[in-house]
Subunit: 364 residues, 4 copies
């Protein structure tokens, strides 16, 4: 890419903790080191597609206060639909990708830093490809399912929130001799579930990638009781299916929805299979938010700085990544290939089993 | 009551934060100041009803570590049914109240400190009355609905948990321009909801005690948007009913359950009445737990000490309470009269309305 | 006071958590309910004394994000000296009180809400008296030493920070069998120390108001060790003097400063008097800050709303206060009489002694 | 090593968060998977050197509650002196290493898991070498200065505590327009300082490994002010020396100690060189403690499991380590070579400079 003077930055997809820290680092690096102008695009690709253009110039002063520590994204990340098949008021769809390219050019930008997850990064890449726009990616997602990086921004904060929930559920489980089931985020990947299960002291961790048996869970719980504990903790990713592989939210009997989710499914079946009371908690959106963890702030800061350097060095078409404890650059085409799932022989799966946590059937 | 040498202490009803801090304070005071022996009864009234008796002698050494800070109750609080109509394996019921009295006498106890909420305090009083057992009560409940006291142990910790959830939901609501609905505990009373709504910056707080209109909520949200905010936060107590006064979990259409709860009900209706996306979060059991707040520890400690003094001074049949910033004693018959609900002209309802929070229909 | 249309608000004295929450509540109430204009004065009285005037109009939009939760004061609270004897560059002093009055008039304000502590409230009252300015006070201070109110904004957050420090010091004390001494804020009053000592599980709490003996502390520590604990926690307010009543920072031997503070003094003497290692921690400015506690947010919100109502109702010359679990108004002349110290027979001193905490000599 | 049936585990050196989580993981793995007996040695090497032996058998039941989340080490880690030159009551020293070996044999142990830092690991290795004792190490230290591993247990919790302190100091710095200086742990290595400076949003980070100039710091602060910020945050490791390379605690003028530490030194010099007020906070022992971070619990759990596997597989003389996002084994002789300092071209130093943080002289 040619000489850069004006840099755009946007957040795309679901929000998470640490996005503002990335934007801050991008601005600090671009302004302080390179003397560029930085423009924050409002509401992801929408800000460039709509007229008037929606953006704000970012200066150092905006970050003098609390921004590093604030959750969410002050640029917004609203999604109204696929830009290539954008839903129109009359019910039809329309390709609005050229609006995006045109917006980028109207702002006279030289490059775009896209902070996004697995899905949104792919769409932004297509939009940028459409206009030969210089793009550098920064991975973010609470699910940690972006290919090419060990960690995406927002993940460890989510794990912290889930761990803290387990810290709160354990004493009430013990007081009442209950099995507490915690349903956590993770539609495709079990990263949050396996991390939080270890750090929160769970006895069972169910992930979408590994099949399980209800009887094995019940056996594990009975074993824990035999060892002297009067309660048990079960962590389950929302994407886990019923034992027979059907979605838990659609399990039907006589044409009716049977379960509100996998947590409820497990609650009913484990209550029946053990002599313990069960309770289910679904954490939901609190997992997205909160003050970013120290690690997410470090990652966000290092990513932001490095992404700007990548722009300066003409490494368009790449995403900054953290791999083997170092910053690296990964081609976007190696990233935009669907969610990165948890490998059944991941070090943490092994560690979890080593602790005695039931993580589904071995060898499955 | 005569000379006390052996004191029993038990926890009853749902667990909450600060119970262990009460037990610690009771033990410290009874052992250090009076030289009594203290016995912790396991699993509430069950520990005295079952044979062999289930209890443990409590000594100072047990509290040398972390107990002050641990959530739940290490004595347990399992409830298998009403002691006066105890469900038997064969399906019949049996009055087991004399087993309780007999257990108390077998342990040669002189008095009992009962840490309980509205409902469990009443049952324990009946059990103690049955055997002319000296009883002093300590109020605990996350709902803060015990009569006679401004604060019960466990309440402020629950409010903290809910406030923290709102702190996490606000940035994600802002990032996505959403209405976030948080369903919190409070079957009969809206204390948690009104406290957390103010401290967590909500725009709407619905409580069981005050009727509301969906249109008024929608109007409030639109007003907030007009003022420049792009999102809104709604806190609703689980006991709030649908607009027409039917329970939200039973609202039916053609014989089917319509809503999973009041949060879901509001979510659907507010999405229809405003142009904003809505999301609902149900916090559940995490509200019970967690490290007790500073205030709950202070309250628990002051209550525990004073309850023992009340035993020493022969004030059986009373509950220790915190009223107008001082410790007082309240006759149990003034306490065991059902849940203490939120008055529509409570100072916090007024403060909430003063801030512009919608708290249901005024004058209702 | 006449019809109010333009309200000023300022923060004065040391910052604490919850100040922004007060400003937010003042703005919400004044704008939403009364339709007034609200002006935030920058850096306390300085903003009205300097030219050009330093202020910003406060609108609802400024509080749409995180302000309720942010520590410190976004209006600033810089103090360059006594306005009645203001230090000038040439070394002389000058009465600048009329500059303040003139600034108030230049802004065409009708009244001023002053958020301040014991000392700064007094100066602001004198400034307002100078110009017959309508003033309503809101009490804030981490020390909780403002007369007329049970709680000032910022206090419980400070207690939380200190309690958390004790939660962190206890396990390291236990691991190493040490006496940990924590020096906390409180130059004149021991409110923080006594609250945190109870909630943080300390064995000793020293406050400026109650004399103590080093031998009594050593005896208490030995007693705790005998009971089975291998460590001890001591909380001491910075304003506590050496055993013989001399300031710890000035205790001299042969013309040299002997101790860095009361914590260090205790550390040396207790190490000599017991067989345990001692370590001292001085928390310092972290006690001022941090996300405000739930209770400080409630207090700040209720105070802010009520202060505006007091302005509307012509209650100039009063401070809003929280007493006996209700909002009341207190004449400023009853407030500005020096710091409110801890009474030796305060309920918490009694509770602390009831737990076995050494709080200095009884009957002293 | 031959067949293992009885495993010892001990903690050595300064305590930190996550030690109990390691002990729990060791016990879970050894008992649940291998069926061994596990013995916790009390107070590090002292427990095996003293008679009677001080230890407790560890069973699964001990960890059924809160142990994973508790800071410190319930086994204790008291150090009375170098076992090879143990200080005796009469002032002489004695080689007590054979007492240690003899204690190990008396307990009929087959191997020892040593949880220690840089210094204590070395002494334990010498003790084990003395008796040809099978030893596997687990790295822990808040300073993260153990060779051979990217992370030691306890480090990220310490960074969290320091980051949180910066989160609390920033708003008070902004409210009063101050330079806040935070002195953190790190006698030899600046890992805590550099991590926390980035995550806590500091403007200056001083570490023992990189020389600095006071004028450069003052210039950085002035630059920050020019950019629109009214305050600055400085993080400094306790091991940093004065500008001319003398220890800050010994800098003398006319035979007197001049500074209480490097924080105080910076405070005085920066106040003189800039026009801003300065304040210094020394965090001290709170950095050791507190509930372990999610990451420390993960690390502790994975380390504990793997250490037991290493014992089972005969990998005596090695330490388990986390390198490049995977568990590896490192020979103890590669570990016990003094503290691992921060490389001036560490990725985080680069990131910090990229953000504009002053980290001492470049190229120094």
């Amino acid at each position: 890419m040619g000489k850069v003077r004006r840099l755009g930055v946007l957040t795309s997809g679901g929000d998470c903790a640490g996005l503002n820290a990335v934007i801050r680092a991008v601005t600090y690096r671009a302004v302080r080191t390179y003397g560029w102008k930085v423009f924050g695009i409002i509401d992801g690709s929408m800000g460039l597609m709509e007229r008037p253009l929606r953006y704000r110039e970012l200066d150092l002063d905006m970050f003098s206060g609390n921004m590093l520590r604030e959750a969410g994204t002050f640029l917004g990340t609203v999604n109204r639909g696929d830009p290539f098949n954008f839903p129109m008021p009359d019910g039809s769809t329309k390709d609005r990708s050229l609006d995006f390219v045109d917006g980028f050019n109207k702002l006279s930008l030289d490059a775009l830093v896209v902070i996004g997850g697995d899905g949104s990064m792919k769409i932004l890449k297509q939009l940028c490809d459409r206009g030969s726009i210089n793009m550098v990616g920064v991975p973010k997602t609470i699910d940690n399912d972006v290919h090419g990086t060990d960690f995406a921004v927002g993940f460890t904060t989510a794990v912290n929130v889930v761990t803290e929930a387990l810290d709160r559920l354990q004493p009430t489980a013990a007081s009442h001799h209950r099995v507490m089931i915690l349903e956590v985020m993770g539609r495709d990947a079990g990263h949050i579930a396996i991390n939080a299960a270890i750090s929160g002291g769970a006895d069972v961790a169910l992930v979408p990638e590994i099949p399980y048996k209800l009887d094995s869970i019940a056996r594990k719980i009975e074993e824990v009781i035999r060892e002297g504990r009067n309660h048990a903790l079960v962590v389950v990713a929302e994407g886990v299916k019923t034992e027979d592989g059907t979605p838990a939210t659609k399990a039907q009997s006589h044409g009716q929805m049977r379960y509100g989710g996998i947590g409820q499914y497990l609650s009913e079946h484990l209550a029946a299979k053990t002599e313990l009371e069960t309770r289910v908690t679904t954490l939901g959106h609190v997992q997205r938010g909160g003050t970013p963890s120290t690690r997410d702030r470090l990652l966000a800061s290092a990513f932001g700085v490095h992404a700007v350097d990548m722009v300066a060095q003409g490494q368009s078409g790449h995403m900054v990544a953290w791999r083997d404890n170092a910053l690296v650059e990964v081609p976007l085409e190696d990233v935009c290939i669907g969610p990165r799932t948890l490998s059944p022989d991941d070090a943490l799966v092994t560690a979890a089993r080593g602790l005695g946590i039931y993580v589904g059937e071995e060898g499955a």
